[in-house]
Symmetry: C2
Subunit: 429 residues, 2 copies
């Protein structure tokens, strides 16, 4: 693919339309002298902090996802392309995609992370992770189907297996999933099922470390655990999953029968990192210079979950939305500095804190040394997430959905939509 039409303009490619890529693109939108291509393999920007709500039937996919194309439509110098990028050639300054090779003057890599099964990729089909909308609706399908099958099951042991939900990983996603499952079994489904008592549901949260939310202050870890336990969640700490099968989960010499296992245990950066000869950390993240560019390719920036950038304390910055947003904007600004013959500046993360919900009305939050929990933290969480959610319409819908389910204990999107849509056309009920 050529860019003859853009002669004289600097061509900037941004790979990925997540928090980092979208913010980089917005920073460059409308700027003279630059032509921007945003490439993503999906057509939508996903508000990932609320993805667990889709998995738990609280929100519909369209309420937390918005076409990247629409979000950037007002910028005439940005084009959005649906595509898969398979490799980056730093020497030739070009990328390989499923629609050909594209050259760049500047490149911003914002491909994010995906699940890591620590070498046990075969576990994925029994324990899906939560990174995409399709994975979220798959989780939703599994959870809702387990209840439906339990309702018609007559065998006690089989029913117990169907009503056992295991969440692997006690980070924010694991805590949010387990809390929602506890809430659903205690309240949401209570009156809808005749033959099972959803309160007998077992929700087990398994974490390898000595406490939940290891990146939070220990007092909040303790609080989160207590709040989860109040929702009927069993928390197992310092336990490692050694096998996952269709029947359940093995933890050392114990085996729990469970029909539904959800994976929230680990992430690794996009495997595009492996197509480049660059310095990577133990997790596979690319180690970047203070300005977020590559040491041997100063026209290439790596931002968000894909990058290993260090904070003031010398530690790598965490994989949080605020980090990705700020890094995306920073990389874009450094390109503009180059074009305007200004000096590049190092990236400094402005701490926006971190928070996780527990069920329908509690949360834990930590902003610097300030720690909040309970309903206050949940209101903060609500405000922050509504505030950052893109598009007035979506914000309104989500707030309305929450108000609704807060008052009625009902869930907004309790749909089982079959993965294999075609199979239903050939069968009948």
């Amino acid at each position: 693919m050529n860019h003859d039409d853009l002669t004289g303009m600097k061509h900037i490619i941004i790979i990925g339309g997540g928090f980092a890529g979208l913010n980089a693109a917005k920073q460059l939108g409308g700027c003279s002298g630059v032509s921007v291509s945003v490439i993503d393999r999906t057509n939508h920007h996903l508000f990932q902090p609320l993805l667990y709500q889709v998995a738990m039937a609280g929100l519909s996919p369209a309420e937390i996802a918005y076409p990247i194309r629409s979000l950037l439509a007002k910028y005439a110098n940005i084009r959005v392309l649906l595509g898969n990028v398979t490799a980056v050639d730093l020497d030739a300054a070009e990328i390989k995609t499923d629609f050909g090779t594209v050259t760049y003057d500047y490149l911003i890599l914002a491909c994010g992370a995906k699940h890591s099964y620590f070498g046990h990729e075969e576990w994925e089909k029994y324990a899906p992770g939560l990174k995409t909308l399709a994975q979220a609706t798959e989780m939703r399908r599994r959870v809702l189907t387990a209840y439906e099958l339990a309702e018609r099951e007559t065998d006690q042991a089989e029913r117990r297996k169907l009503l056992t939900f295991i969440v692997v990983g006690g980070g924010p996603t694991g805590v949010e999933l387990a809390g929602s499952l506890g809430e659903i079994s205690r309240h949401t489904l209570e009156k809808d099922f005749n033959r099972i008592d959803p309160a007998t549901t077992r929700v087990v949260l398994i974490e390898g470390a000595t406490r939940l939310l290891p990146s939070y202050d220990p007092s909040l870890s303790k609080r989160a655990q207590r709040d989860l336990e109040e929702l009927g969640v069993t928390v197992w700490l310092e336990r490692m999953v050694t096998d996952i099968t269709p029947k359940g989960v093995r933890i050392g010499d114990e085996f729990i029968h469970a029909a539904t296992v959800l994976w929230a245990a680990g992430v690794k950066p996009s495997s595009i990192n492996e197509t480049m000869e660059v310095e990577r950390d133990a997790y596979g993240r690319i180690i970047v210079e203070p300005d977020l560019s590559l040491k041997d390719a100063r026209n290439v920036f790596v931002v968000g979950d894909q990058a290993h950038a260090t904070g003031r304390d010398g530690l790598p910055l965490p994989g949080l939305a605020p980090v990705a947003m700020q890094q995306g904007r920073h990389a874009a600004r450094q390109i503009l500095n180059d074009l305007r013959d200004k000096e590049r500046r190092p990236f400094r993360y402005k701490d926006k804190g971190m928070m996780a919900t527990i069920g329908r009305k509690k949360a834990v939050a930590q902003i610097g040394s300030w720690k909040v929990h309970g309903f206050t933290a949940w209101l903060m969480w609500l405000f922050v997430h509504i505030y950052y959610l893109i598009g007035f319409k979506n914000r309104f819908f989500v707030l309305y959905q929450w108000a609704w389910s807060y008052m009625t204990y009902q869930k907004g999107a309790r749909l089982i939509v079959n993965k294999e849509w075609r199979s239903f056309n050939n069968e009948d009920v």
Copy 2:
């Protein structure tokens, strides 16, 4: 499966949670002496008249679907079971399901219809129909993906193929799909794409009869055609599709290259009809007695799209939601009449009319001999559909979505969610 727990009660099985089944169940809810099982292969009641809105990215699945379980939760004598029914044994008074054999005292068959490809089932994968949520999101995926691929395509012929949409069948569904596609290409996507001009999109509606909407008054058929043509839709009448391939559609000696073909040409009743030795019409619908029961099994009722019941004019009743709703209630009432030693009554359809939208603000409607078109008909359509849509929350959401897209020309759910969710976990951008 036994129903020992229900001794003394009459066990009524309703197969299908569509308009017919749901209304039958509601009629029986709370009635003494009856225990009801509603079996459906999905967990949701689907408001099918708005399904094309999901396919055309206007509404989210959860806005037109609601858990059957929740809709019937208030009735203690009804249980809802997710399951596939594979056969009906009239002599033994039992049904075969994927969770065992279940006996009944009364049976209401409300399984609906599915697509018919007139013996060309191999066309289905190139031309999906529109009966389930999964099919609707598949249609949405195809339409949105075609635009995305066209945006990055450099070859003119290939781009034209990607921007050609063919709708097969000029009944209400075909008219609604074609109208929406015309609207989308003329308005919705206009500003979002840089490199393609969505106004060059070709939308071709193919109908075998001499006019669109053959079941409507000819004046409305003409009006619908004119309105569609104003939206840029090409209407081909008296043309039969002779082949569908991945490249496009053959119509006699002509071949149109098209990446997207949507099937709205024919339906046939649920194939459960073939598991019973009963009288069927040429379309496979079961011919029922005036009270909607079977001649040789008076404890079995067949209602909705699955049944051939005749109206006052001696013609079979059309496959419309009001017919299904009234028939469901009627069948339930006849069972109650039996149990109360009252006489059964014949079914009389109370004509509620029929309507179809054309694009974002026009419609045609016919109620008895009264015919309406244009914006007035669209407002009627809006009112009727909002009124019948289940649940206050959904009604409100849908109205809000429509107001939004009416004002902004934006669509509410422009998401491409991949069919094969797992494929994305192994790849990268």
